[in-house]
């Protein structure tokens, strides 16, 4: 179950703030508990590092609580997603600045990474025995999940962002456009391209959902 209804639409009539109940600590806690796993995964798809993803989620949670704790609960999803996406973007900006200093060194020593390797071709099956299905099906399921996540990582950032916000966070097109700072038409285009790209990538691996 996703939290709340579409929110943040610009054409909604203004409501006196006194009439809107503000989010209680319990409501904020329930919201964060419901969104934290998806937020972590979203950050992980972008930065591809467990610790960095956790740091990003923690920063986003802190910013939401410190700056927007007094907002109505219906506004929390949009606010949090905006904060999360900005925090991810800030990470890449800092990385770009850092790269200005470290790239001369890396050019001396070389990266050593095979940039032409297809990550989908070297995935290992995760060991997961929590489910009661036969091991072979568990392995196949884990492998499919791993392929899907790798495919999402390979998407262009804007397509991935639009896809996850629109389909996974269940925000409406207007809200996604507001977060991404683009038009609603762009959001639909990004979503369509992302869906098509995922379909192609998974199809190449023989995965049919």
């Amino acid at each position: 179950m996703r939290w709340g209804a579409p929110c943040g639409l610009p054409d909604q009539p203004p409501v006196p703030r006194r009439a809107i109940p503000l989010a209680t600590q319990k409501e904020l806690s329930d919201f964060l508990a419901e969104v934290e796993r998806r937020a972590y995964k979203q950050a992980l798809f972008s930065v591809r590092d467990d610790h960095l993803a956790l740091d990003i989620v923690q920063d986003a949670m802190l910013k939401l609580t410190e700056s927007y704790a007094g907002r109505p609960p219906g506004e929390l999803p949009l606010l949090f997603q905006r904060i999360l996406q900005n925090t991810i973007r800030d990470f890449f900006r800092r990385q770009k600045v850092r790269a200005l200093w470290t790239s001369p060194l890396s050019s001396l020593f070389g990266s050593g990474a095979d940039e032409d390797a297809d990550p989908l071709e070297s995935l290992e099956v995760a060991d997961d025995s929590r489910f009661s299905e036969p091991p072979s099906e568990q392995a196949e399921r884990s492998q499919v999940l791993a392929f899907i996540e790798k495919a999402l990582e390979r998407l262009p950032a804007r397509q991935r962002q639009a896809f996850l916000l629109r389909y996974w966070e269940e925000l409406d097109v207007a809200a996604v456009a507001s977060i991404m700072g683009c038009s609603e038409g762009s959001v639909k285009t990004h979503c369509s391209r992302a869906t098509h790209a995922l379909s192609v990538m998974l199809g190449k691996q023989g995965i049919k959902l």
Binding site: L28, Y40, L62, E66
Partner: protein, 124 residues
């Protein structure tokens, strides 16, 4: 976005939900800790426990220690500048060095105590 794309996307999302539910215990624990830390900042949240108070105490004193370190470093730098300026040779010493270096006698002659006595006895 057509219906086929929507259905495919929802299938992907179902798998993503499954993946999110499979997070390892360590990662989930860290997320819970992050959530707890964030909620502690909620306006009017209950005061932190002993650990939280100790952390706040340490943070405050670390801040004061940093300020003290900066002031100390500035004072040391100022004192160093004053010291080096005062240790620089004054005019008399500079003149003595110049006379030693330009004199016809070798410098070792001045180290000879006998020569020094002779200089004092001889009229100039």
């Amino acid at each position: 976005m057509n219906r086929g794309e929507d259905e495919f996307a929802r299938t992907i999302v179902q798998r993503l939900d499954e993946s999110a539910a499979r997070l390892d215990a360590g990662t989930h624990a860290r997320l819970v800790a992050a959530r707890t830390a964030a909620l502690a900042r909620y306006p009017g949240a209950p005061a932190l426990g002993l650990a939280g108070n100790v952390r706040v105490f340490v943070e405050l004193h670390l801040f004061g220690a940093r300020i003290a370190a900066v002031v100390t470093a500035l004072m040391i730098a100022t004192a160093s500048v004053v010291y080096w300026q005062s240790a620089a040779p004054n005019g008399d010493l500079a003149d003595l060095e110049i006379s030693l270096l330009t004199d016809e006698l070798p410098i070792n002659a001045y180290l000879d105590k006998g020569f020094d006595s002779w200089l004092k006895r001889s009229p100039r």
